[in-house]
Structures are given as structure tokens and as C-alpha cells.
Symmetry: C2
């Protein structure tokens, strides 16, 4: 079985492409290109015109937006199965976010036409994309509330739990996705030094353990309580 064909790609199960018909899928697969992206390399930049969407086969990308004060706010982490850039393609706007790989990645680039054709002709597909976007919007609402109502300490605790739940742990009990301290700060929207300080504090209190830049969760219960404000 040719796994490089969309028809056989497992990743598709997790995104809206599963609503495509066999013929559509064939068309998509014929038009797509696969590329590998090294950790730290950009997939696309804020303000860039996207000529298609990126489907993540492997690895993780951060989606971020530059703020006026020069800091990058990470809005989302996209993992295996997620499609990036569809918002911009649908709204026919330039991208409002930058995408940079935070681990080595393998992605498929699907040209805009393949997507828009199906959007206009296959209501099931459109509805499926719509459902995904509705879900993203809800998550964004939650992030807004967390950002404005929780302390940095709570947000960092929550970020660690999020990383565990979404990307899992490695054999040694560390979070499988290792982010730099700066990236962690940019996820929760704080200064790098503040993030580092709180990570040190968590370590002292026995909530986490670290090894280099790797972080492992030691006391999930307490982290949860902290994130909830107790």
C-alpha cells in the first residue's frame, strides 16, 4: 500500500479531509506535495499569501502572531492530523499567523484549488470543515478567558497539563514535546524570565522535575488544583 497517497494516510482520520469522496481524495493526492521541515524552520509567515493548506503528517508546529511590542504570541500548537492555513484560504485573506516547526516535521501541502473546489461542491466536506472551525473557535474563547483571568502561574500549570494530554510523555516520563523556555513563555503570554522563575518554583515544590530543557510532570493533582486556582 502506498502510504504517500492521501487515500491511505492514517492522519486523514483526524481532520476534515475524511469527508471527501474517493474521487476528490484522488484529486487532492495527485496535486499535493510532501515536504520535510526541520525544527526551527518556518512553514509560512504572518502576512504571507497562502496558496494552499498544510496537513501535518508528523511533528508539531507553533502558530504564532507578532505583537506590537515585538513578542511572538503562540496561539496554537498543531500536531499530527491538523490542517494549517485553512482559515486564510477560506476567508481568502493573507495569513494572520506564522507557522514554525517546533520539532522535525513531515507535512503535505495541498494547493488551494483542490480545497476550494470541494468546498463549493461537497456540502459534507464544507460542513465537516465548519465543525472543525467551530471547535477551534470555542478553544480560542477559552484561551481568551484564561489569558485575561488567570495568573501566569496558573497558565503555566495549565500549559504543562495541556502538553501532557495532547502530546504525551516519553519513556523516561518527560513531556514528549519539548519547548524552549521562551516558547513556553510565548504560549502563556509572559516574559521568558517570569516563566523560568515559575518553572524553578514548580520544581522546588515537587510539582515537576526537569533535565536540561525537558520537563516531566510529577504531581498532576497539585498542578491541576493550581491551574484551577486553589
Amino acid at each position: 500500500m502506498d502510504r504517500s497517497r492521501c487515500e491511505n494516510c492514517i492522519v486523514r482520520q483526524f481532520n476534515s479531509l475524511r469527508a471527501l469522496s474517493k474521487e476528490e481524495l484522488k484529486r487532492v493526492s495527485d496535486s499535493k506535495t510532501t515536504k520535510t521541515v526541520k525544527k526551527g524552520q518556518p512553514l509560512f509567515e504572518e502576512g504571507e499569501k497562502l496558496n494552499g493548506v498544510y496537513c501535518v503528517r508528523n511533528g508539531v508546529s507553533k502558530l504564532s502572531k507578532l505583537s506590537a511590542n515585538g513578542k511572538d504570541q503562540i496561539v496554537k500548537l498543531a500536531a499530527k492530523g491538523e490542517v494549517m492555513g485553512q482559515r486564510s484560504v477560506i476567508a481568502e485573506e493573507h495569513s494572520n499567523l506564522s507557522a514554525v516547526a517546533v520539532s522535525d516535521m513531515e507535512v503535505c501541502f495541498i494547493p488551494k484549488d483542490s480545497i476550494t473546489t470541494s468546498l463549493q461542491k461537497n456540502p459534507n466536506f464544507t460542513l465537516e470543515v465548519l465543525r472543525h472551525m467551530a471547535h477551534d473557535l470555542k478553544e480560542a474563547d477559552d484561551v481568551i478567558v484564561n489569558m485575561s483571568q488567570k495568573t501566569v502561574k496558573q497558565r503555566i500549570a495549565e500549559a504543562f497539563l495541556y502538553l501532557k494530554n495532547n502530546f504525551g510523555e516519553d519513556a523516561e516520563g518527560f513531556l514528549a514535546l519539548t519547548l524552549s523556555r521562551e516558547d513556553i513563555a510565548n504560549v502563556v503570554g509572559t516574559a521568558t524570565e517570569s516563566a523560568i522563575r515559575i518553572i524553578s518554583e514548580f520544581k522546588k515544590k515537587g510539582l515537576i522535575h526537569t533535565s536540561g530543557k525537558r520537563i516531566g510532570i510529577k504531581d498532576e493533582r497539585k498542578l491541576k488544583d493550581l491551574a484551577e486556582g486553589f
Copy 2:
């Protein structure tokens, strides 16, 4: 002309209902009910199961979410032409937000079925809804960045500019939409006292003028600079 019919409703121009066919519109119009909601009254609550969507004919509603610390974070202000609750109906989830009128309102309630039927059959409509949601998602991203990277002062300045641009001014030069100090605080995600203090400061500096709870913009240029961080 019967303006109570969706077919003749001007408001429809501004939302995704404009993509409906004549027959669909007739169906929607036959099934809808109109109600008036007094300022301060709720339309629906967070966690409630919505059996349809609300289309705003007049007035403004705040969409908010209760945070763990008991504060209401206002995520969006919905004005004439906007449809509320579609996210929950599409995702088939309970509402993640509460809606409360911040001015006297006139809204149409459209039962879920009328919407979902068209979503499944009319790709143009689905696509139109999708485009609107893509736009909402972009706005949510922007809010996330503002919340996490801007100071309270900047966010309040920005809120005033937003209110002016979206709801306009009255004959005396005050913002047409008057929010309580508490609502302003809940829009920018800060304590009511902090918001009041900053409003006083803006007044002293001649950026705005007030009369009771009404606020008027005096120096838009400076407010803009402030919001941008200068």
C-alpha cells in the same frame, strides 16, 4: 412590504442568511419567532442547550464566559445583523457562552432545524457560514494577542476605539453604546476599579470626556498611539 418577513429584512444583508434561496428563506421566516429583550435580560446562558440561533435585529448583546474566579469575561459584542449561537448549533454542543442584552433588543429566534437542513443541502450557505466563522476566529486570535501582550491601559484605549468604530457616536459626541464600568472592565479583562482609574486618567489627560456613565472620545489620535504602545 411586511418587514417582519426574513425575505424583506435588511439585517440579513450582513449575515450568512443572505446565501439562502428564496424557498429556504420562506421556510426560515415561517419557523422563526421574534422577541424583544430588555437591557440586562439574558438571551441564553453558558451550558444551556440551544435549540436555534438568534439573529439580532436591533440592540446589542454581550457574549461572555464565567471564569473560575467568578468574573465574567466578555468575548464579543453582537450588534445588528449578527447571528448568535451558531457555533453551538453547528458543533452540536451546549453553549460555551452566555448572552445578555446590553441595550434593549429585538431578536429573531430561528429553530435549529431550519439551519441544519440548509447546512446539509446548500453548499453556498454552508460556505458563507464558514467564511463568517473564519472571520470570527481571526478576530479571536487578535483578542488573544491583545490580552496577553498589551497593558490594561492599552486595551482600554483600544476598546474605546472599537466602540466608536463599531457602534458610532450619538448626536452629542458620546459613544452610542454605553457600557457600565464593570462591562468595560470585563471586556478588557481587568478589575472594575482598575478600569475606572484608567478612565479617570484618560479624562484628566483630555483623551476622553464623560457625562455620567457616557463616554466620548476627544483625542482619537492620542488614543490610537496609546493603544499601539507609544
